[in-house]
């Protein structure tokens, strides 16, 4: 084990997979100096500011025996390449009757809290979740980001990795040896008995902080990190809710049609889980506003440990707040 930052762990995953797989190509508007030095400019390519072209290039590479990483940097820049992701990458395997594989990875950083205002702070993963054919990972820790990126780089499908900007410098334990984190397996990051808190990306850390405060009030929270949004580990989430009888979903993204809405739905539509619910499930989400620039407003617009605490406490009317 070693303790390294999330961003470093991600870089290691890419580097190690580049060593394993000589069909791997990196495409980004930014120079990746370390990678380029080791693997050369044929495989590590600086693109013009033409996201549509280079995401499409990744698709063409994938359909021709290569595997490309299209690094969009920020999720917001993905919108100029949306057709290539939604109409092409997501559908191409299916439309062609499965005759070819499209192994590729699209990386996007995302999230609010950097005071970058509306255009640079969006958390759009639920939009992509509505598009079958894409796999979507949402790594929350150094361990997970390395292991999930490795799985992504060994998967035979288009995968989008949403990496929260504010997690980049968060350090965590990472094994020395090669490992992967499988898709579709939620991770119970904290075991508890009274309430299930499903927390996405950076909100996991906020939820863990809130659970400490909850513990002090005698409430034992189970904190579940889905880790991958597509496939989504429905069973683990339902299992936890069946145990605790209560559900709070925390998602930084805008509330309407969020991944949080999906989690709530998959829980309540399951008769067995529904039957065990003791109270109305709750969402703690970003407000339905574009992210404002100025910190007081920005903070107000996104969830944090305080809001999580409040939402959980609202499920326990007899506990002193």
């Amino acid at each position: 084990m070693k303790k390294i930052a999330y961003a470093r762990a991600a870089a290691e995953a890419v580097q190690e997979e580049f060593r394993r797989d000589n069909k791997l190509v990196y495409l980004a508007t930014d120079l990746q100096p370390d990678l380029r030095q080791e693997f050369g400019e044929e495989r590590v390519r600086v693109t013009p500011i033409s996201e549509s072209a280079f995401v499409g290039t990744a698709i063409g590479l994938a359909g021709s025996g290569y595997r490309a990483i299209a690094d969009l940097r920020m999720a917001t820049f993905g919108f100029v390449a949306m057709d290539q992701m939604v109409n092409q990458a997501a559908k191409i395997t299916y439309m062609f009757g499965g005759q070819a594989r499209f192994p590729m990875l699209i990386r996007m950083s995302f999230g609010a809290g950097m005071h970058w205002a509306a255009q640079h702070s969006i958390s759009p993963y639920s939009m992509y979740m509505n598009v079958p054919g894409l796999k979507i990972i949402l790594p929350t820790t150094a361990y997970d980001v390395k292991g999930l990126l490795k799985s992504a780089l060994r998967d035979n499908n288009p995968v989008i990795s949403f990496e929260n900007t504010l997690l980049g410098q968060v350090a965590g334990d990472v094994p020395e040896e090669d490992y992967t984190v499988p898709f579709g397996r939620a991770d119970v990051k904290r075991v508890g008995t009274d309430v299930t808190v499903v927390a996405l990306s950076r909100m996991l850390h906020e939820a863990l902080a809130a659970s400490v405060a909850l513990e002090a009030r005698g409430i034992s929270a189970e904190v579940v990190d889905p880790r991958t949004l597509v496939p989504l580990d429905r069973e683990s989430i339902r299992r936890s809710v069946k145990k605790t009888g209560r559900l709070v979903v925390v998602d930084e993204a805008c509330r309407t049609c969020s991944a949080a809405a999906e989690v709530i739905s998959l829980v309540v539509e399951d008769e067995e889980t529904y039957a065990r619910l003791k109270s109305a499930p709750q969402r703690v989400c970003g407000l339905d506003v574009p992210i404002p620039y100025s910190p007081p407003m920005e903070q107000y617009a996104i969830p944090d440990r305080g809001k999580i605490l409040e939402a959980v406490l609202s499920l326990f009317p007899r506990v002193v707040k």
């Binding site: 190509v25 044929e42 495989r43 390519r45 693109t47 013009p48 033409s50 549509s52 072209a53 280079f54 995401v55 499409g56 290039t57 990744a58 698709i59 063409g60 590479l61 994938a62 359909g63 021709s64 025996g65 290569y66 490309a68 057709d83 290539q84 109409n87 092409q88 191409i92 395997t93 299916y94 439309m95 062609f96 009757g97 499965g98 005759q99 070819a100 594989r101 499209f102 079958p132 054919g133 796999k135 035979n156 499908n157």
Partner: protein
């Protein structure tokens, strides 16, 4: 003009090539005539964008391709696929929505592909094939085996940002990519002279620092020759090349003709007189490369192939409803 080829009474290798081109053009024509008819008959669930009138382009371009080269097609893709060697039976079955089709009935006319022979697929989104072809060209370059990619697209696609981005990217990376622009004068009912500022596609392509050409897309020999020169350049590592093929679509934008065709009647008629197949046939006859009976034999052969494709399509089973669940992801 010179004779197409020297001959001494029997079919030379070159003659065989010419006759093959003719057969290909005719196959495309008959395929799309028949597919259109089957649409009107109600045998085809969806729609078809016929390639009729443009056969010389796919045929002439693909006659220069070798194994390992890849093409990317668009919504009007049947001609490209046939010219690159796709199986007309599996094509027709796909158009019919059958399980034996290229895409198991999942794609239909607009999404036929055959990765096994380098066909990376038709595409329903105007311009979207261009970046994908750029990727295929990058793959060819990384492979380092002298293979190339060709992307077919219309004048309409030149109006999309993806066209420009792909031209630029292919150019700065000197990718082995032939931009085969089929300028059939219209995108649906909109004339390229209205929609393309200046109306000069070659000039626009030149601005991306690549060699260009513009040829009569209804003359298969001119097409083949222009493509040969371009592909030699591309294959030799000279970077991308843009060729505009001027042509015309005979049918409405798609069949069934739900969108009224507002192009001037006289223009359509004038272009029909420039039929690439009749023109090539006359040439072959004049130069003594084929005889009328030989032509009839080819016609019969082609009709046989198309009939067979339709029978195959018709008799093939439909997919099961639950087949919808497969192929969302690859294993």
């Amino acid at each position: 003009m010179d004779k197409l080829t020297k001959r001494d009474g029997k079919v030379t290798r070159n003659n065989a090539g010419l006759i093959n081109m003719y057969r290909t053009m005719l196959t495309i024509r008959r395929f799309d005539e028949r597919a259109s008819q089957e649409v009107r008959n109600g045998a085809v669930p969806g729609l078809v964008h016929p390639y009729i009138g443009q056969e010389a382009i796919a045929t002439g371009v693909c006659s220069n391709l070798i194994e390992g080269d890849r093409i990317v097609s668009n919504h009007r893709g049947h001609g490209h696929l046939i010219a690159k060697g796709a199986d007309t039976r599996r094509m027709m079955a796909e158009v019919f929505g059958k399980k034996t089709g290229y895409c198991k009935g999942k794609g239909g006319s607009m999404h036929i592909a055959d990765f096994g022979i380098g066909i990376l697929g038709a595409n329903g989104i105007v311009g979207a094939g261009l970046p994908i072809a750029t990727g295929a060209a990058l793959a060819a370059r990384l492979d380092g085996k002298g293979k190339i990619a060709v992307v077919f697209f219309g004048d309409g696609a030149c109006q999309e940002g993806e066209f420009q981005e792909s031209m630029n990217l292919a150019s700065i990376w000197k990718l082995p990519l032939l931009f085969a622009c089929e300028n059939n004068m219209y995108g649906v009912n909109t004339s390229y002279t209205y929609a393309i500022a200046g109306g000069d596609l070659v000039k626009r392509a030149s601005a991306y620092d690549m060699p260009t050409a513009s040829v009569d897309g209804n003359d298969v020999i001119a097409v083949r020759e222009a493509a040969r020169i371009a592909i030699e350049h591309v294959r030799a590592g000279g970077g991308p090349y843009f060729v505009e093929f001027k042509t015309f679509r005979w049918s409405g934008h798609f069949v069934p003709e739900a969108i009224p065709d507002t192009r001037p009647k006289e223009e359509i008629e004038a272009w029909k007189k420039k039929c690439p197949i009749v023109r090539f046939m006359r040439r072959l006859l004049e130069d003594g490369i084929v005889t009328r009976p030989e032509l009839q034999k080819i016609e019969d052969q082609v009709m046989g192939i198309i009939d067979e494709a339709v029978v195959y399509a018709r008799e093939s089973p439909l997919p099961a409803p639950e087949d919808a669940l497969d192929d969302v992801y690859s294993a």
